[in-house]
């Protein structure tokens, strides 16, 4: 239980891992926008190529990426079936009783698959696989810091996230201990119907809550003793400065987006209805 991994972070050395997390957050947002710019065969092809390039650039094994796509597999299959059978077009491929399959339908099914997988691969490669949760929290605080002007407690939320991440393994360990202790007193977690099992969880949850609250109290005192007074006047050990090379990916994504739009306009091909 001690080696619990947070999120989906995949440790590796790659240009994407090294990239400033703030840049990555902005890139992710822009990449999502880009995936919705695609309209025809060529732009979708470019989108698909870009996701594959991101995977290669991030040095994350394809197996892990496919594993990440598995939860949306049903959605993918379902939407593509609907698209194949229900899209009306001009080129009829197959007609059998009430079923009409048009070429346009096949294409829009492929488009949907490419779009959804690119969204998942893009956000995964740019954020979750290549950025540690803690770096992500810090970066979010920075990216959202303009909101401090309108009194949004950005620092406090970031601090809460950090503490939550810090205490996940501690509480997992604690749960483990409590479960063992209750088992030693004859508690049974694996037999009985669903109601019995839920009931069996109560003697775990109550001590866990009690200890979590007492930990929270202790931590608050310890933080006060270390002069914590909220975000005001706080400095940071790691100050991230935007360097010239951090701007290159931003330029690239703008070029990519422009490319998609140009392909939509000038390259003929099947267009998504």
């Amino acid at each position: 239980m001690k080696n619990i991994a947070f999120g989906q972070y995949y440790p590796a050395r790659s240009p994407l891992h090294r990239l400033d997390p703030r840049v990555k957050i902005i890139l992710t947002i822009l990449y999502i926008v880009c995936s919705f710019l695609c309209k025809n065969v060529w732009s979708f092809a470019l989108l698909a190529i870009s996701s594959i390039m991101l995977i290669i650039l991030g040095r994350v094994p394809f197996k892990i990426i496919l594993g990440g796509l598995r939860p949306v597999l049903i959605v993918l299959i379902f939407t593509s079936i609907i698209n194949v059978f229900w899209t009306k077009g001009e080129i009829l491929l197959l007609e059998w009783r009430f079923i009409h399959i048009y070429l346009e339908g096949i294409f829009s099914a492929i488009f949907i698959i490419v779009r959804i997988s690119s969204l998942i691969i893009g956000t995964g490669m740019l954020l979750t696989y290549t950025t540690t949760p803690i770096a992500l929290t810090d970066a979010l605080e920075d990216v959202l810091s303009p909101l401090k002007k309108v009194k949004v407690p950005v620092h406090d939320f970031a601090m809460m996230m950090t503490i939550a991440l810090r205490f996940i393994p501690t509480l997992v360990e604690e749960t483990d201990k409590i479960m063992t202790a209750q088992k030693a007193r004859g508690a049974d977690f694996s037999n009985g119907n669903i109601i019995d099992r839920v009931k069996a969880l109560i003697p775990i949850i109550i001590p866990l809550f009690v200890s979590a609250f007492s930990r929270a109290g202790d931590l608050a005192t310890a933080m006060e003793c270390r002069c914590y007074q909220g975000g005001e006047g706080r400095t940071r050990l790691h100050v991230r400065h935007m360097r010239f090379k951090d701007f290159i990916p931003l330029v690239l994504i703008v070029v990519f987006g422009t490319g998609l739009v140009l392909l939509n306009i000038f390259a003929p091909g099947f267009t998504m209805s």
Partner: protein, 289 residues
């Protein structure tokens, strides 16, 4: 006479206890006066519920005394006009390390956690870098700078907590039973760090403990029972009064007890000892080999 670093004058702390029938007022600390000089290593000894932890928390302004005065470097910290900055200044000067190492680490990476205090003080980042590196070196944890705290042992976590306090450059550190939850190896690591800080950096140490062996390492031992100081002096003098200590639920270090037993049973052993080496020497002399 030089001014005491910490001066406690007739301090009492009262709290309400609910015994199931009625609320009764109980004194956790009663009329305690104590002076601690700069650079001193003082152990506060007492059994559970004796008020020793309350005393520590009073010095750091986590609790405010019901009556009495506490001065730190001549400044009255019980003054009602203490501003937030004054309190922060006090907590920077007098750092505190708690019992449970898990509940005082804030960040998910060791060096970020050590940096937490200096970050709160608004110190420039280059300076924080230097302080973090120095603090980690002081507790011998430099190579763990980029580790996650939950993968470290209890003793290592506690040393990180100490480093987090050292990085604020305090003049005094209070250890509130900081070794109570550790295994013998972790206890030894932490004690070595504490002694090193006291000897090499001249940091005043106030160590709350209920381990006799640890108290024996201090320059001075203060014994607290039922909120009152019942004994105060060099370890060797305090542990001489074995019976008094036993009356308030404490014992003496094993080697002291051994020497006492031997002399009571007719061995020709004179004097007192609080550590294993001098105990061995005394027995060796008594045997007259």
């Amino acid at each position: 006479m030089e001014e005491a670093f910490i001066k406690i004058e007739n301090v009492s702390y009262m709290y309400e206890e609910n015994d199931g029938f009625a609320k009764i007022d109980r004194y956790a600390v009663k009329n305690v006066s104590l002076e601690i000089k700069e650079g001193e290593f003082v152990a506060v000894l007492g059994h559970n519920g004796s008020g020793k932890s309350t005393l520590a928390k009073l010095i750091n302004m986590i609790y405010t005394p019901t009556s009495g005065k506490i001065y730190i470097k001549g400044r009255d910290i019980t003054d009602e006009n203490m501003s937030d900055e004054d309190i922060m200044g006090l907590r920077k000067t007098v750092g505190m390390v708690f019992q449970n190492p898990d509940n005082q680490l804030v960040a998910t990476i060791v060096e970020d956690d050590v940096a937490f205090g200096p970050e709160n003080l608004g110190i420039p980042s280059e300076e924080i870098r230097k302080r973090v590196d120095d603090a980690l070196a002081d507790v011998g944890m430099t190579k763990y700078a980029n580790h996650e705290p939950h993968r470290l042992s209890g003793g290592q976590k506690q040393r990180i907590a100490i480093a987090g306090i050292i990085a604020m450059l305090p003049e005094c550190i209070i250890f509130d039973e900081s070794t109570a939850m550790l295994d013998p190896v972790g206890r030894k690591e932490v004690m070595e760090s504490i002694i090193k800080l006291n000897r090499e950096k001249n940091i005043t140490v106030l160590m709350i403990t209920h381990y006799m062996e640890e108290a024996a390492l201090a320059d001075r031992v203060v014994v607290i029972d039922d909120g009152r100081i019942i004994s105060d002096g060099k370890p060797i003098e305090v542990f001489k009064k074995e019976k008094e200590l036993r009356d308030c639920g404490l014992s003496v270090p094993q080697c002291t007890e051994l020497v006492h037993c031997l002399s009571e049973n007719g061995f020709d052993i004179k004097g007192e000892c609080v550590d294993v080496v001098s105990c061995a020497n005394m027995i060796f002399e008594a045997l007259n080999l």
